[in-house]
Subunit: 238 residues, 2 copies
Amino acid sequence: MLNAQPNFSLIDGITVLQALATSEAPVGSRELARRLNLETTRANRLLRTLAYMGIARQTADRKYVPGPGMFVLAAQSLFASGVIKNAMPHLESLRRFNLTVAFGVLWRDTVSYLYHAPPGMPSVEALGRVGVYPASKGGIGLVLLASNSEAQVRALYAEREIPGFDTLDTLLTELHKIRIDGYIQHPVTGKPGEHTLAIAVGSPPHAAVALSGWIPRGATDELLEALRAVAMSIQMSS
Amino acid sequence: MLNAQPNFSLIDGITVLQALATSEAPVGSRELARRLNLETTRANRLLRTLAYMGIARQTADRKYVPGPGMFVLAAQSLFASGVIKNAMPHLESLRRFNLTVAFGVLWRDTVSYLYHAPPGMPSVEALGRVGVYPASKGGIGLVLLASNSEAQVRALYAEREIPGFDTLDTLLTELHKIRIDGYIQHPVTGKPGEHTLAIAVGSPPHAAVALSGWIPRGATDELLEALRAVAMSIQMSS
DNA sequence: TGTGGCTGTTGCGTTAATAGCAACAGATGT
DNA sequence: ACATCTGTTGCTATTAACGCAACAGCCACA
């Protein structure tokens, strides 16, 4: 999986970029360097390079914040790439169940939704309602975490809190169950009585589809079949 | 503006990333190298590095597409950074005019909206409805282009089509007018009778606010004043 | 006003990481 | 079977990045 000759400048540069994106306040180069265990000069030069490109922006007091390029890049990759365009029509077909339809991807321990449509919402609005969510707290995240090996998951959550789970082992047995079943049925956090049904898309999985809301007893099989069909269709058209 | 020691690996890496984001179909490394005038080995290694990080993803036929990291990064930078959080309440106050309220940034020749609320849309939904738009076709883009020097704009559109304008000179005189007025009033493309009023936020400008829809004669001054107040408030709180 | 500790930033010698040729392996089409 | 694409890598010369140490600016406290 790792490269023959990986480019470390690019790796650290994007790490800096991500740190910048997740920082709640403007950060200076020395502080960022400390957070990421980087040499200060290096952090400073990477930040300046990002600023020069318009991906970062320097505030009046010379600290750094995400710049316009960040947002444009984001929007471009959502719409120009075929990801959504291909998946949209198939996701639409799931709305007949009057449940919330969601489509998202996993990165590290974070899920990003690309499509999120509660019943009744116009389709155009469902598209591009980007948002982030802890992977361990939702169906999409868990079903995608399950596509990683146990060792990978251990490494990911080593020495860290796991939102929604008490211990790492509880998470691992849950993931094991998902691998066997091929899907997950998971209670929706904060909405008693509601459940999420989620399955992965692609092999290896790179996204997941989910239906959530109040799911009648006995409807599970029908919904799962619909989800599987949609997952297959999306995979075919991408 | 340019760095003491810019990191060229990072610059080219992000250039590759952007090319990937704007590519309508999966691209291979040799093809991408040709598009960007890069050496093939270099392009290949940058792509592999991006893929390793999860920012790009390799399809079954070994071509590359934007990966999950791209989307997560996008969503994170939208919400975690204070940009929207700070601007939101002020943008809300503009909705009393029953016009479309928009807030966006410019990068190169492209505008990305961070907030876009037609009258009646719930506020939460207006947030994060990211989208991209050619800068020269809208009020936000034009008012931000005007904050660049004439030379910069010439360089940006050298030898290229300018959406919404016939010649580069027509654009330049329009921008000149904006610099004098401090705002723009521009017809909305594709909606006869509707206009956009836009002004820039920050000095130097890094974003712009706009009101658009059917604007009554004589209301311009009141709207402009409201826009200026909001622009000032947003600048203060960021 | 002076001192100490912070900040972002850079000049410059050293060195390690990247560049890029050339070659390989696998598709695909002729 | 040949030609021509494709993505990918081994290897080394060289170039670009590393990072120490120093500078300049800011703020607080004395």
